[in-house]
């Protein structure tokens, strides 16, 4: 007979988001099952051997494995055990409420039922085909994360002479890593006019080793039969189209791609969870609750974060909220949400959460500080003002709910505002109606402020 398991909260994924969610759900008194497809917990941190993690959460610079071990220790001390090498093949909502997941692990197939679900499935790398590098497909084209897995986990060198396309953080980290391991890194090429990675990684991964970064340039073709023999680069115009006559041929045996990450949400889609086209993750309220009751999401599945610390933070919130939801039971008044939209207004690339649950904000017993995560849509000089205004995305005329001034804003660098629940009172007087919403607006500094 097929194995059947039942629990309060199922967490999918045992990376930093999933383990934080599992721990906070257990601490809130829920029974938790964690499903992880790999043989060890820790997610992508297992292969991120460089340091720089944990400054916000632990006040010190940890390597990825050290950060992951802290999660594993806490999870273990709470009595948690992840189902490893386990995979969800399909998910269904039950008519009576709750979810049933069809899963497979080394012991065969099993069914897993829960009242709440936390999606902590992380993100995936964009590939060469997704950035329109077409033509032959010789060996030697790797995503940065794959190159990282090969070197740091498998102990394999991807090649001898590499070109990097893109300037995302993993690509920068890998430029350094490949150099230290004896490879020659010719240079990194970024199609955008500005680098995508953190400034400190430009410094410590490229500048430290004299690796040039060429902006407004891309790889237009890969050459080679069985193995990469070279690539063609070209400058691009403002619309990112290659400019004829600017082509250069580079001899290399490896092309490493660091061209963006996309939240992984196949399972969310199968459950009918609405996604935000800007983040490509589920639209969530401040408790990381999606628009499908009982489905929570956190970490890079919601939006691609710069820092593991923020991933963990959203996991904590998702886990405690999922536990509260599961333990409240069907028909509980605390399960009734009153959602009001929070939009990305002018100058704002996206904001998470995309919704505010006014019912939870108004409930003194439950109302916690709210974390708003956002990116500006363009680089803003010192003095930029971020304003949360009542009203829709046009941002016209709404009352200012809160305002922050920044030294600088760059789209690659995610910002976070922690706001007191009381400051987000965007609801109407009559509780039955949805609020008119609020929007986050990013404005350049005014000349008189400079």
């Amino acid at each position: 007979m097929i194995r059947r398991l039942e629990t309060d909260v199922v967490v999918l994924g045992a990376g930093p988001a999933g383990l934080a969610a599992a721990c906070s759900a257990m601490e809130a008194g829920a029974r938790v099952v964690v499903v992880e497809r790999e043989e060890r917990t820790g997610g992508i941190l297992k292969q991120c051997i460089h340091d720089g993690f944990g400054l916000l959460r632990y006040g010190r610079q940890l390597s990825g494995p050290e950060y992951a071990l802290r999660d594993a220790d806490r999870f273990g001390s709470l009595g948690g055990r992840a189902m490893l090498e386990a995979f969800v093949t399909s998910a269904a909502r039950l008519e009576a409420g709750g979810f049933e997941l069809a899963c497979v692990d080394r012991g065969g197939a099993f069914l897993l039922r829960s009242a709440a679900l936390v999606l902590a499935t992380g993100c995936r790398e964009r590939t060469d085909r997704q950035v329109f590098v077409h033509g032959d497909r010789p060996a030697g084209v790797f995503t940065a994360g794959l190159a990282q897995y090969m070197i740091n986990v498998q102990g394999l060198l991807p090649g001898r002479r590499a070109v990097i396309l893109g300037s995302g953080d993993i690509g920068l980290i890998m430029a350094r890593r490949m150099t230290l391991e004896g490879m020659e890194v010719i240079g990194a090429y970024e199609a955008k006019p500005e680098p995508s990675g953190l400034s400190r990684n430009l410094r410590q991964c490229l500048d430290d080793y004299g690796i040039p970064l060429t902006l407004s340039s891309t790889v237009t073709a890969v050459h080679g039969g069985r193995r990469v023999e070279g690539v063609t680069t070209a400058r691009v115009d403002g619309a990112m189209r290659p400019i004829p006559g600017t082509e250069r041929e580079l001899s290399c045996d490896t092309l490493v791609l660091s061209v963006g990450l996309i939240p992984e949400n196949e399972l969310a889609k199968s459950l009918g969870v609405p996604l935000d086209p800007r983040t490509r993750g589920p639209r969530v309220d401040q408790n990381m609750h999606s628009l499908v009751d009982g489905v929570f999401a956190c970490g890079n599945a919601v939006h691609v974060n710069d820092l593991a610390d923020y991933v963990s933070e959203s996991g904590e919130r998702a886990g405690s909220s999922a536990a509260a939801y599961a333990l409240a039971g069907p028909g509980s008044p605390s399960r009734v949400r009153r959602l009001s939209p929070l939009s990305a207004g002018p100058g704002c690339l996206y904001v998470v959460p995309q919704l505010l649950d006014l019912a939870a904000l108004a409930d003194v017993a439950r109302a916690d500080d709210v974390c708003l995560y956002f990116r500006s849509s363009s680089t803003m000089a010192s003095g930029a003002v971020v304003r949360l205004a009542a009203g829709d995305a046009s941002g016209a005329g709404g009352a200012t709910l809160l305002e922050r001034r920044y030294r600088a804003l760059r789209p690659p660098e995610m910002e976070r505002i922690k706001a007191a629940a009381g400051s987000l009172a965007v609801g109407p007087a009559r509780p039955a109606e949805p609020g008119p919403g609020a929007s986050l607006i990013v404005e350049p500094s005014k000349p008189e402020d400079r």
């Binding site: 051997i49 340091d51 400054l55 390597s63 230290l180 004896g182 410590q204 430290d208 030294r407």
Partner: protein, 123 residues
């Protein structure tokens, strides 16, 4: 004579742009948002130091590599030498995070320590 340097601080993700004036043995740092930046900038302008993170070979496990780090910083210009010195290191389980795997690398006074647990992982 004083020398002016523009640096990006690597102490945290904020990545402050630092201006450093080096005059003889003294460095004056500005642009830092926190005290760490002042300390880092003053050192960086004179002699850049880095922590090295890499892996060592594993035997007797299904895992092939164990992540490691230096327990202090070493001169930026010696990182490749340090990689060579670390190359022959081979570990067998059990290893616990923090275990010292090589002492006093290149005579620079820093040790190589494990940053992950390596237990009896086999199938």
């Amino acid at each position: 004579m004083s020398v002016h340097k523009e640096l990006t601080c690597i102490e945290c993700p904020r990545g402050c742009r630092l201006s450093v004036e080096v005059d003889g043995g003294r460095a004056a740092v500005s642009g830092n948002a926190c005290p760490k930046g002042a300390v880092w900038g003053a050192q960086e302008a004179v002699a850049p130091m880095r922590t090295l993170t890499t892996t060592v070979a594993v035997e007797g496990s299904t895992r092939k590599r164990l992540p490691v780090r230096t327990d202090g910083t070493l001169p930026l210009g010696r990182l490749l030498d340090a990689m060579e010195a670390i190359d022959p290191v081979v570990v067998r389980p059990p290893v616990r995070r923090g275990d010292v795997l090589a002492r006093d690398l290149l005579g620079l006074g820093v040790d190589l320590v494990a940053t992950d647990d390596l237990l009896g992982e086999s199938r």
